[in-house]
Amino acid sequence: MQNSELKNELLGAHKEVSAKELKDYLDGNLSNSKARAVEAKLNSSDFSSDAADGIKTYGTVASAAAISHKYASSTLNTPLLLTFSSVSLGILGVWAFMHFSNEEGISSENNFAETTQEQTTLTPTAEDKKASYVEEELNEKQEKAGKTLQIINIPETPEANKIGAQESDPILFSIETEHEIFTLNPLEKKKGKLFQISEKATLKTQSARIRHYRNYKLVDQGIGIDESLLHPIIEGTPAFKETIVINPKYPGWVPADSIYRVSINEGIDWIISKDYAKAKMRFKRLLENTPKDLSSSFYLGYTYYLEGKHEQALTYLQMAEIHVIQTFDHDARFLEIKCYLNLGRDEDALKEALYLKNADSFYAEKAMELVE
């Protein structure tokens, strides 16, 4: 029966969907059986599946097809080649093929292919510059990480870096350098370093695990956001909430990249459930170890705002506004307007509202309504 096919399909981890298949599938031009074949490939490959999601949600099929065409280096006339092969012309066939293919006009596609490749391949100078830029940037990051970090102890038990289930438990970060992976505990009350390393793990013991979690889908609904993280907690704004998928085989573990996000998200959850004391404790503790963490500044300010403590709210919102302009700037300023109005500081509120208006912010209209 077809049962062995189930096994094969479960194992078909590396059959990627081709550009044409993907285009036809997303355009809805395939019969049920052909659509099903593409779906089987999408199911068996995270790469294809992620790509299809991206194109379907944020792009156009035409763009994807154009990209594929752009990089095509060879537009082999396959049917022609197969014909020659199938009649087994041997040496004569090969000679004939070479002879004809060298003649102009036998395949306009081939000529086009060469042109395309010339047009799309980077010139060596530009290529070298880009490569050099990437390398320099990575070196700089590694060097910076090396200076920032300091190993303070090396516990043996791998259980130590499970994420804490309770607020009092440590929540740990991980960082990788070229040769090692470190697990960090940002909630330890030690100052002077951006991060304190509480555990060092060798590649042998932990790399595979951490990599495995990272390869799991960290986030179901996208990572990058044009709007801010504030949106899930302000009614009527575009919804955004990360969903972290944890491997059921190791339920105590989360992907290294997501651990920080988990700690922030827990704080956000406490805000939503109006458990402000816990939320404040979480963000304050994060700030103690990462004083420039704008997410914690912002959400701490937001918590104070919700409690009606507008002066304290302003302190942290302004910190969030200053640290990283692009991420929380507008959200923070919008909340600042509300705080200023509550404190009777109308001029300050107007100033911020005009800033948002001039910046063509998502909040511009709402901000102007408030001050008017």
């Binding site: 194992l11 763009s63 060879s74 990575l138 970060f173 790399s207 290294a256």
Partner: protein, 199 residues
């Protein structure tokens, strides 16, 4: 020249990488990348949510692979490229401060360590697999059977069940993951059992 082009398109990913490492010619990486450029672009779109940015990132990935493949040993190119693309996207998001994450260096480009799981699956008997299939949640089991055993498309499953296409997709993906985990758990249990017996 044309014959050579014919030849290059028939090379496997690994052969192209070896040829590139040997001859240092861009035509090999161009051919290799052309097979996956649409996927790199799609993944970039998923993360960056902008076509112009995704196009730029696709170009960046192409540049990076040309450099890395000179020395990097890659046994599963598509898996490696997927990981590389995701890393580049995350780096891009961090650069633009659109995501706040723990600093991360870029040595996590090893391929997914999935071959062990696959080996276990290969050794799994069909009867075991079907038995474990029955242990899935009803909706997952139903969608898995219709998709894998009846060979129905999402559209067909949607029309013959109360589930939406999105739900069907989700049930199949989750069902597949759960089934794999159950099989791996089953295999581990058997291994332990054998070890206990021999001891």
């Amino acid at each position: 020249m044309k014959l050579f082009k014919t030849h290059i398109s028939k090379l496997s990913d690994i052969e192209l990488i070896k040829a590139y490492q040997k001859e240092n010619a861009q035509k090999f990486t161009a051919e290799l990348f052309s097979r996956y450029a649409h996927l790199v672009f799609g993944v970039s779109l998923k993360y960056l949510k902008s076509e112009p940015e995704a196009k730029d990132l696709t170009q960046n990935v192409y540049t990076v692979i040309q450099k890395k493949l000179k020395t990097h040993e890659v046994t599963n190119f598509s898996s490696w490229l997927h990981q590389l693309t995701k890393n580049e996207c995350l780096m891009e998001l961090r650069r633009n401060k659109r995501i706040e994450l723990v600093p991360l260096t870029e040595n996590n480009l090893e391929e997914e360590d999935s071959h062990i799981d696959e080996k276990i699956l290969l050794e799994t008997k069909i009867e075991t697999l079907l038995k474990e299939l029955e242990n899935l949640k009803p909706a997952q089991k139903e969608c898995m059977k219709l998709f894998y055993l009846k060979k129905m498309s999402y559209r067909e499953i949607t029309s013959s069940t109360p589930y939406s296409e999105k739900e069907v997709k989700s049930y199949i993906q989750n069902g597949k993951r759960n089934l794999k985990n159950q099989l791996i758990h089953h295999a581990e249990f058997r291994t332990e059992e054998r070890a206990t017996r021999s001891a």
